[in-house]
Symmetry: C2
Subunit: 99 residues, 2 copies
């Protein structure tokens, strides 16, 4: 399985403006084949720092995601929303154990 974690930053005063755009890409991605989890969440200690968590069944599913129209729409907003400090790390994992 693939787990991805990372973050990006939005100026704290633009998070509410960005929320509808983030919701669109999150909901669109959650509906993709092979997407097990996709969330954007604002750090409770650092306003404007948005954590990204993803889980995918395969690299093929992830490759398809990269050309999804909702992802392109979201990226088009980066300059206007002031998105910065983007980072994302991909981990190859086992199936996981629920604690």
């Amino acid at each position: 399985m693939i787990v991805m974690t990372g973050s990006f930053r939005i100026p704290a005063d633009k998070v509410d403006t960005a929320r509808a755009h983030m919701t669109a890409v999150v909901k669109g991605t959650q509906a993709e084949d092979g997407c097990l989890h996709y969330s954007y969440a604002e750090d409770v200690t650092d306003p404007g720092l948005i954590h990204v968590t993803e889980r995918w069944t395969s690299h093929e599913a992830l490759d398809a995601h990269r050309t999804a129209p909702h992802l392109a729409d979201w990226r088009e907003m980066f300059a206007e929303l002031g998105v910065s400090e983007r980072n994302l790390t991909l981990y190859e994992t086992d199936e996981g154990v629920m604690l």
Copy 2:
């Protein structure tokens, strides 16, 4: 390496009350030996849903975390804050690839 992802829920109107308590356990845990990442973050589409992301160097480091005093302090607040729907999954991973 170990990656952990999960979430818990706080009534949305208690998130601001909970913030100081969450900050204490997050900062305390980030300072622990073997902790590579520890964050709590509120879902941008679902107020009150707090995503947990952790990375640890080893099971030994994670075992030590389980008895940390800041974690005990945080757990003592669960009833008062109405914490529910707690879940956490542990993945054994490779070192990851930054995208």
